[in-house]
Symmetry: C2
Subunit: 425 residues, 2 copies
Amino acid sequence: MFFVLQMAISNIRYGEGVTKEVGMDLQNLGAKRVCLMTDRNLSQLPPVDAVLNSLTKSGINFQMYDNVRVEPTDQSFLDAIEFAKKGEFDAYVAVGGGSVIDTCKAANLYASSPTSDFLDYVNAPIGKGKAVTVPLKPLIAVPTTAGTGSETTGVAIFDFKELKVKTGIASRAIKPTLGIIDPLHTLSMPERIVANSGFDVLCHALESYTPLPYKMRSPCPSNPINRPAYQGSNPISDVWALHALRIVAKYLKRAIRNPEDREARANMHLASAFAGIGFGNAGVHLCHGMSYPISGLVKTYKPKDYNVDHSLVPHGLSVVLTSPAVFAFTAQVHPERHLEAAEILGADIRTARIKDAGLILADTLRKFLFDLNVDDGLAAIGYSKADIPALVKGTLPQERVTKLSPRPQTEEDLSALFEASMKLY
Amino acid sequence: MFFVLQMAISNIRYGEGVTKEVGMDLQNLGAKRVCLMTDRNLSQLPPVDAVLNSLTKSGINFQMYDNVRVEPTDQSFLDAIEFAKKGEFDAYVAVGGGSVIDTCKAANLYASSPTSDFLDYVNAPIGKGKAVTVPLKPLIAVPTTAGTGSETTGVAIFDFKELKVKTGIASRAIKPTLGIIDPLHTLSMPERIVANSGFDVLCHALESYTPLPYKMRSPCPSNPINRPAYQGSNPISDVWALHALRIVAKYLKRAIRNPEDREARANMHLASAFAGIGFGNAGVHLCHGMSYPISGLVKTYKPKDYNVDHSLVPHGLSVVLTSPAVFAFTAQVHPERHLEAAEILGADIRTARIKDAGLILADTLRKFLFDLNVDDGLAAIGYSKADIPALVKGTLPQERVTKLSPRPQTEEDLSALFEASMKLY
Ligand SMILES: NC(=O)c1ccc[n+]([C@@H]2O[C@H](COP(=O)([O-])OP(=O)(O)OC[C@H]3O[C@@H](n4cnc5c(N)ncnc54)[C@H](O)[C@@H]3O)[C@@H](O)[C@H]2O)c1
Ligand SMILES: NC(=O)c1ccc[n+]([C@@H]2O[C@H](COP(=O)([O-])OP(=O)(O)OC[C@H]3O[C@@H](n4cnc5c(N)ncnc54)[C@H](O)[C@@H]3O)[C@@H](O)[C@H]2O)c1
Ligand SMILES: [Fe+2]
Ligand SMILES: [Fe+2]
């Protein structure tokens, strides 16, 4: 058997105030027409200000697109792509959370491949999952949440309205050229955005530490260009996953509680990139696979602190609500990893039995979420038992991630996981 | 004050037999004229065979250059550059240890910048240390030692004959496009090559865990393009350094003792890349700075197991021989890191006093080297007290690394460090 592990790790720059360099970076790239992307809310906030200042100071010619949708859809991606095609840009700067960075990746991709059909690059089986062979323009990502790690990954996620399900585009080719991690940007985040994006980091770390090991993943494409970015757990992503998890355990609560705690917010900002490097190469599994219909089927839920005009389930919330059920389910495969994660998150495992690893991790997560005032399960965000078949149906096409679960799942298993996630406490 | 940390991390692929993909990679890159570089010894060994097979199978048009000098010099770099210029290649494959990979980086750089003077890109103060702005061709590095991590770094080292001192070229631009880490290649390494290249990993890990922290390094260039690759210790390289050190502690002895111990050799092969990512961003300091004259001034030393016709001090040996003295000297700055390193390498530190950290790490290293039959200090490889002034003189221009030492050094300090390294046991 032939095992391969391919790591595309990232270029990142970290430092308070480091955003002021983005204009120089664009000059160094020789950029003549730059597309600056953000969302409407951020366009009024300090992170975008800092970028605008830097661009102006360096005399960069740019156009701003601030129409990014929070939790993007195919429609909102297409709108940004249209803008990018018209603009004929030679570089992109994305300032925002995962919604902005992902939208910018898609805009860059399709503007660089103008004759492609939108579905060409969308993950199979929903789209065609074609390999990207066209050269893209440089994209500098300036994350403003401490969550997705999108500045380090080759993934762009959107909500496919027609199917009411989230899916994405995954290719090393869309990974940003440079991520500028400036922890000052995290200071303007309101409490629930810190919490929800932090839960995303938590799940990236937990899921990328526990997927199918890379030596067990199949198929193994014979041409490296067809190899997926998500390869299963491996000795390199393990390092990042554990490291990120330790930071989450130490700093997430502090970052949520106190907006002035710069140390905590800066550490979570780095952790989000670290977890991104980990899951961007190892993948995520059930929490993410099941989250896509949870977000996609949203009814009327409007989260606190989100300055948007549509209902949405924030991504981090949609992944974390199933996490106790998911890890109770998967622990039979790598119980020692589940127990280790529980210990890092504060569980006392001195007298723990290895066969209880899943329950211990689940309890630890429940307690963690309770302490952080997280909604009490899927019921609290508007779902009931009657929705479970639709939630399961929306999970089935998420093979790209669900197949990375260490434990295979039937539809009944998925039903049971959603049901167990209706109420947490 | 404005602190920046810039990480250029790497693309690597890892797996037994993964070399067979290199032909496909070159096809995917659209390469039409490929330069295959190696050294004379390796050209007869399985790693080069595997690459040749893959190139042939994929119908890749290539020319082979096997004239790389083990421990390259300016002359040998120039010879390879000449070959590269004539060949007008559109991609490079380097199969070998640091000597081959470094030579190939230089060949690619100067062939891509044909009007440059050789000194233009050589590190200041010896050369001009100009920033690389020309685009280079893709370079795929296939390491065959478990040592330099050159497949992950933007550094190419050579012996400047005129000055009798090693120096190099350092730029993110010369970092290989892809490192193919195929642990099968390590199986042909004779014992001393495993040992010496392993010591290089050990010192990369130790030195990159203990340099000046990145927030204390100066100057801080205002344009990011002028920022050095070596930035001092930082929260990202720390992760790599410690991880590599743990692997060295666990596997180096086994890898040396038993050529059949595939687990140990494979782990050291990965550790060398991990340490490369760490030191490639944090830098190294005194062991490396002092090693350059130790190699450059070599008299008649001919190491066991090296199939070459000139005398040389293998790089890994030249760095490790001063390590006990160096860490005893630097420990006063970050004693807790020195103690932590000693513990990872097997010291019992339960009753240790923090002020003894340097001595404890030095003793641990001495014991480690003694167990591995390493020559007893600089005296055993042909140096005497009378050589110390020349060794010191050769260290002074190595500012790029010596300035990263956590503790500043006078010429007297350097003399004392060389003197303390004459005899180890
Ligand atoms: N590409 C990837 O690797 C990846 C990984 C995980 C999730 N995602 C996707 O990313 C999206 C979620 O991204 P997110 O969690 O970063 O949030 P987001 O981008 O959706 O932003 C959420 C809200 O926070 C606001 N906001 C962002 N930064 C702020 C700041 N500094 N101060 C004040 N307000 C701020 C935004 O304006 C928005 O209203 C989802 O679509 C998800 O599926 C992508
Ligand atoms: N670029 C960097 O980041 C970096 C870092 C550290 C050192 N270096 C430089 O790298 C050079 C040392 O490289 P190295 O330690 O990898 O050794 P090397 O390339 O000098 O090779 C040493 C010997 O080992 C032989 N060899 C290599 N692989 C073999 C295999 N698999 N089987 C049998 N024989 C094999 C070679 O033919 C050669 O004779 C020095 O010039 C050093 O300064 C570079
Ligand atoms: Fe996520
Ligand atoms: Fe080295």
